[in-house]
């Protein structure tokens, strides 16, 4: 479904601040799989999502979605396949537009925008149902500017928006990290329901070991720009939250050395 072949990306190349965010990453996601990505800060987990979403063109390597090569395609061209929810709960909706207008815009993700009226008769009942599913009573606020809603409410709606025009791939980028615990729990519950109901292929980056252990059917731990651990099925289920914390301590120990030091020190001890 999604395939990455030897994808590399270096930020600020040739400067002291050079970051090799992705180092020749190979990755293939099966249709209908739900992959959780974890990793320390700067491990490349968000860069991986950026490469898939088209936020930048990789320095090397190629990317396919459904056997269509998208490597050089800009973000908006890939949007026809990809539904996204960002870490910033305000990033996924347009504040001065109403809830209904935001939903209507999302419903036409990846399609041509013409001169027909955005809000048409008949769509409201559908949105009403989709919002009622969240369980926050948001269905009564279809005509309020979405900027009046809280971060948790907006993130829940963004998730509904991402699933409206059924995406081939759902990208979730630490989408509960900026929420209060109650909202985070609600959004995670909704995420699970939507992914399971629609059988979506999802790539979810998270900071939460509890989420990483409890959700998904495949787990990838990124470290220094590459997948360091990649397990699925019963092997994935064996990774409980405590064991993931241990893995993190190990990865962080290595993080204390910079790239160059690891390059010199590690081979010397082999």
């Amino acid at each position: 479904m999604l395939r990455l072949e030897a994808v590399s990306k270096t930020f600020f190349p040739g400067t002291p601040g050079e970051v090799r965010a992705l180092r020749s990453v190979d990755l293939e996601l099966a249709a209908g799989s739900w992959t959780i990505v974890i990793g320390t800060n700067g491990s490349g987990k968000s860069t991986l999502q950026g490469a898939v979403a088209g936020a930048f063109t990789p320095d090397a390597g190629r990317i396919w979605i459904d056997d269509v090569e998208v490597t050089g395609q800009p973000e908006h061209a890939r949007a026809r396949w990809i539904g996204r929810v960002f870490q910033d709960p305000f990033a996924g909706s347009a504040p001065s537009l109403t809830v209904a207008e935001n939903l209507a815009l999302a419903e036409r993700r990846g399609q041509r925008r013409g001169l027909r009226q955005l809000i048409r008769a008949g769509s409201r009942a559908r949105w009403h149902g989709a919002l009622a599913e969240i369980g926050l009573g948001l269905e009564s606020r279809l005509d309020d500017p979405i900027g009046l809603l809280s971060g948790g409410q907006r993130q829940a709606i963004t998730l509904v928006m991402a699933s409206l025009a059924r995406p081939r791939l759902l990208l979730l980028d630490e989408h509960t990290a900026a929420l209060d615990p109650r909202s985070a729990e609600l959004v995670i519950g909704l995420t699970r329901r939507i992914i399971e109901r629609d059988g979506l292929t999802a790539l979810m980056v998270t900071h939460s070991m509890a989420q990483a252990a409890a959700l998904g059917d495949r787990l990838i731990a990124m470290h220094r720009g590459r997948p360091w651990l990649d397990v699925q099925g019963s092997a994935k289920r064996a990774w409980r939250a405590e064991r993931l914390h241990e893995l993190f301590s190990e990865m962080r120990r290595e993080d204390r050395f910079d790239d160059a030091t690891v390059g010199i020190v590690v081979p010397a001890y082999r």
């Binding site: 537009l97 009226q117 900027g147």
Partner: protein
């Protein structure tokens, strides 16, 4: 009465500029300084064509196209060449000064005695009134002033109506969302660059129509007539918003630009009546805009209650 009506007519004509500025500054949230040049471009294009014998309506339509092209130039610089929006506008404005001189062939063109977009209404008013003067509330008003106010009113209401329709279409809503949140609209599959291009073209087309109408209203086009016009357009938008508040619905916001523009002209007319000269106009403009920007904030600070804050760009986002 005559003074009042011509003030209103001028306010309505400049409301067209207000709508252009509304599209770029408010909807798209791109500070577009092309406006100073495209206003004159509209005036120059229409005046040159009309002196060459063109019909005033066709000439005004071509002026709109010229304005759209100017907006396209700025958009290409801003979206394809990676130049900061403000600088792209300044470059366009600077280049347009020379282009406008080329279009006119000299630094100003007179339009006295040339048929304008106001002429058909003038003929109609004369026929209805049976002479060159109309009696309104007991005062005689020249028919051309009445015709100007009527034509401008019809034109501005038509533009406001079209904008109200357009901004609720799929494309127009994408434009509003793009100004609000570029990242979101990209993730929904619309090129933000394309939206900026579209918005700047539409905005500058409206500004150019405003310039063409202004030239026909005053019977001249001048190479320097556009200086500071962006602030005048902004004044309409800002005064209008001060009247209706930050979170007003779209039709109210659109109406507020019209009301803001007429109100601003009246403030200027009053200022000139109290002894200031037309040469002080731009100083008056700047002071009025400053007052409207600062007073709501002061009010909040002094009384502790919020009415409206105009300095927070984006409004609802800041409140979220």
């Amino acid at each position: 009465m005559t003074v009042l009506l011509s003030t209103i007519a001028l306010g309505l004509v400049l409301a067209l500029v207000g709508y252009g500025v509304y599209l770029s500054f408010r909807v798209l949230q791109v500070p577009d300084l092309t406006v100073d040049g495209s206003f004159t471009l509209g005036a120059a294009t229409a005046a040159a064509l009309m002196l060459a014998g063109w019909d005033p309506f066709t000439a005004t339509a071509i002026a709109a196209l010229a304005g759209a092209l100017a907006g396209l130039g700025t958009a290409v610089m801003a979206t394809r060449l990676g130049i900061e929006g403000i600088l792209a506008g300044i470059l366009s404005m600077t280049a347009l000064y020379s282009i406008n001189l080329r279009v006119m062939g000299r630094s100003n063109l007179g339009l006295v005695g040339v048929a304008t977009i106001f002429s058909p209404a003038d003929a109609l008013v004369r026929r209805l009134a049976g002479g060159p003067e109309v009696v309104l509330w007991g005062q005689a008003v020249p028919s051309d002033v009445v015709a100007q106010a009527l034509t401008a009113l019809v034109a501005v209401l038509a533009v406001a109506g079209i904008l109200w329709w357009f901004l609720r279409t799929e494309l127009g809503s994408a434009l509003r969302a793009g100004g609000d949140n570029p990242r979101m609209i990209r993730a929904l599959g619309v090129s933000h660059e394309w939206l900026v291009t579209l918005g700047l073209m539409l905005g500058n087309a409206l500004v150019a129509v405003g310039g063409a109408a202004f030239a026909q209203l005053n019977a001249f086009a001048d190479a320097s007539m556009g200086i500071g016009i962006v602030v005048i357009g902004l004044a309409s938008v800002i005064i209008g918003r001060a009247l209706v508040g930050q979170a007003a619905a779209l039709p109210v916001l659109l109406a507020s630009v019209l009301v803001g523009s007429v109100l601003f002209r009246m403030l200027v007319a009053i200022a000139i009546r109290t002894g200031l000269e037309p040469n002080d106009l731009r100083m008056i403009t700047a002071v009025v805009v400053l007052i409207v920007l600062v007073v709501p904030g002061l009010f909040t600070r002094l009384t502790g209650s919020t009415i409206i804050s105009l300095r927070t760009k984006g409004g609802p986002r800041a409140a979220a």
